[in-house]
Amino acid sequence: MPTLQQLTGAVVKKPFGLGSKSEHHAVMLMVGDQRYVLRRQGGNAFQDQELDRLVGKTIQGTGFVTGYTFLMSDWKEVPSAATTHPHR
């Protein structure tokens, strides 16, 4: 059973991948030195303006980590703060 997790981090839009070699820009959650492609559960996986509105903010999101993706079911804006890592 996937474990629900809370992650806190800055939402950015940047090329994906370590030293990304593609020009693809994805909305990502920066959690320490980890970054996750951000998706909203039930949202459009290819185009989600709700997520775009979060860019530049720090959020605390609740959801599931699957591979490189954080599938978020809920979130709230928080003051710029220390990030929290997922439980491994």
């Binding site: 059973m1 991948g17 693809h24």
Partner: protein, 531 residues
């Protein structure tokens, strides 16, 4: 003798559903076996985690349900001992796992599927391996009746078992009308597919502007062909209009909308990325995937991809072809399992060499549904006269015709076995080079191609072409035969991987340019897009 073997993992089922749940599943499986018997199939269940059952087939029990190697070895032992005409994997990937084949076009940046998960190796004689190139010659008829990943209540699986027990063949006319949807940007490619499959393409629907609230009559048609985008752990498919920063991806197909709108007996082939991914609905606010929703709606079969799939914008290849082959065989009266095997064989044997995208395609497309279901009734070519040896049990109660059908099926299996073995023994395949050394004109040519497609800083993957021993001998013989056969064969493949500038898309759009090298030069390439 058993024509059909159903394999599952009782321990894994018990962990999900408890003793009471497994009891209900057992009852439903018994009903399926009884229904199969009435149709002339002697079916039985084998628990892969039962030491006694596995000892009886000279195999070893699966100790760890999630271990692909143990499951492959157990299923191989069952096959060697019983040689069933049909093999059913009962349960989703947390009961009997997909095999963990390494994705030949994984580059970490664009195609991020480390594995091209699938059931193909279960359909092959080759022993366990993570190299998909070892499994290009399938011989076995296999399908999966999945439950829901992570489920604790067996209702969904009981429904699927009921569908499998109560199926009935229908006329070809019942499968003449189709429901086809394409992302608008792939209109040309999908038109071609639909024309090849149905003769007419007038019923192709495009997203945008159509969908996902499809009309009831349209969804009630029994053949569905979908060429749209898909994402992982996602109960939606998407269309596309425009490219790069101007692209829009509206929802084209929606699992929650499909519930209750699919006709019993529907057969679907979907090219979409992750179109047949079996995921835990918890990851999608409780909504099961589109594939699971079709099966819950009494669809007989669903053919789709576990991971990122590829196809061109124009013309047909990769996902287009394997889906076409599957549906064509179903419409011609093959069982779902045989249609899957024949589609795999046609795809695997259809190219001079299998490039890395072909190999991923072959590995990732799977049949969900009972493989013994034959949706389209066809006339029987043989009239039964006498009961062949070994089939007497089937002929009791005036089932002489059934026994004759079983013999014909055995003959088809033998033919398919030989075909699969031949392809496996002769088909040249791409094998990844761990640290390719690209330089000079070759690198320049690849960079030029990447620039044409506006891929900045692309990744280059290289592959040598490996020909099996039998193929090398044949090539040697052919070379002596005359000038026609002395054309320089391809010596390597190179894949240029990159994403295109796309605004705000959580799911990446991948462009894979598959280039063929011959005598140190790039001689051709084809453009593939992630679905």
């Amino acid at each position: 003798m058993n024509e059909k073997v159903i394999v599952t993992n009782l321990g894994a089922l018990k962990a999900k559903y408890g003793t009471a749940g497994v009891k209900k599943i057992n009852t439903a499986v018994k009903a399926l076996i009884a229904a199969d018997k009435a149709r002339g199939l002697r079916a039985r269940v084998i628990a892969l985690d039962s030491a006694a059952a596995m000892k009886a087939v000279k195999g070893r029990k699966v100790k760890d349900a999630g271990n692909p190697r143990q499951n492959k070895e157990a299923i191989d032992a069952i096959y060697r001992k019983l040689v069933p005409d049909y093999l059913v994997l009962l349960g989703a990937v947390d009961v009997v796992p997909h095999q963990d084949l390494r994705n030949p076009v994984f580059d970490g940046d664009n195609d991020r599927d480390e594995f091209a998960f699938g059931d193909l190796p279960y359909a092959c004689e080759a022993p366990y391996s993570q190299e998909p190139k070892d499994f290009v010659g399938p011989t076995r008829v296999i399908g999966r009746i999945p439950d829901l990943v992570g489920a604790s209540e067996p209702g969904y699986l009981l429904g699927l078992l009921k569908t499998a027990a109560e199926w009935r063949a229908r006329s070809a006319e019942d499968y003449a009308d189709y429901f086809a949807v394409s992302a608008k940007v792939w209109k040309k490619s999908t038109l071609l597919s639909v024309q090849k499959l149905f003769g007419l393409s007038s019923d192709l629907h495009l997203s945008p502007k159509e969908g996902p609230s499809w009309g009831t009559r349209l969804l009630a048609r029994r053949v569905h062909f979908i060429n749209c985008h898909g994402g992982s752990n996602d109960p939606q498919f998407y269309g596309q209009i425009g490219k790069d920063d101007d692209a829009k991806y509206p929802v084209s197909h929606l699992a929650s909308y499909l519930a209750g709108r699919i006709s019993e007996g529907t057969v679907a082939a979907t090219e979409c990325c992750y179109g047949a991914e079996l995921y835990d609905p918890v990851l999608a606010t409780g909504q099961a995937g589109i594939c699971s929703t079709y099966l819950a709606g009494k669809a007989y079969g669903y053919f789709g991809s576990s991971t990122i799939a590829y196809g061109p914008e124009e013309g047909n290849s990769a996902a287009d072809l394997i889906c076409q082959y599957f549906l064509r065989r179903v419409k011609a009266g093959a069982s779902l399992g045989r249609a899957t095997l024949e589609a795999r064989l046609e795809f695997a044997g259809g190219a001079a060499e299998l490039d890395p995208v072909d190999i991923k395609t072959l590995a990732q497309f799977n049949l969900l549904g009972d493989p013994s279901i034959t949706p389209v009734a066809t006339s029987k070519p043989h009239t039964a006269v006498a009961i062949p040896k070994g089939f007497a049990a089937l002929a009791r109660g005036g089932l002489k015709q059934v026994a004759s059908g079983a013999v014909a099926r055995r003959e088809r299996r033998r033919q398919l076995f030989l075909r699969g073995e031949r392809i496996g023994a002769t088909q040249p395949v791409a094998a990844r080079i761990a640290q390719p050394k690209l330089a000079g004109q070759l690198l320049g040519d690849l960079r030029k191609i990447a620039a044409e497609f506006r891929l900045k800083s692309p990744n280059f993957l290289s592959y040598r072409i490996e020909a099996p021993v039998a193929a090398r001998k044949l090539i040697g013989l052919a070379a002596k035969a005359g000038p026609r056969t002395q054309l320089a064969p391809a010596s390597a493949f190179h894949v240029v991987m990159g994403g295109r500038p796309t605004a705000d898309a959580p799911v990446i759009q991948i462009v894979a340019l598959v280039a063929k090298e011959s005598a140190g030069k790039i001689v051709s390439y084809r453009e593939m897009r992630s679905r």
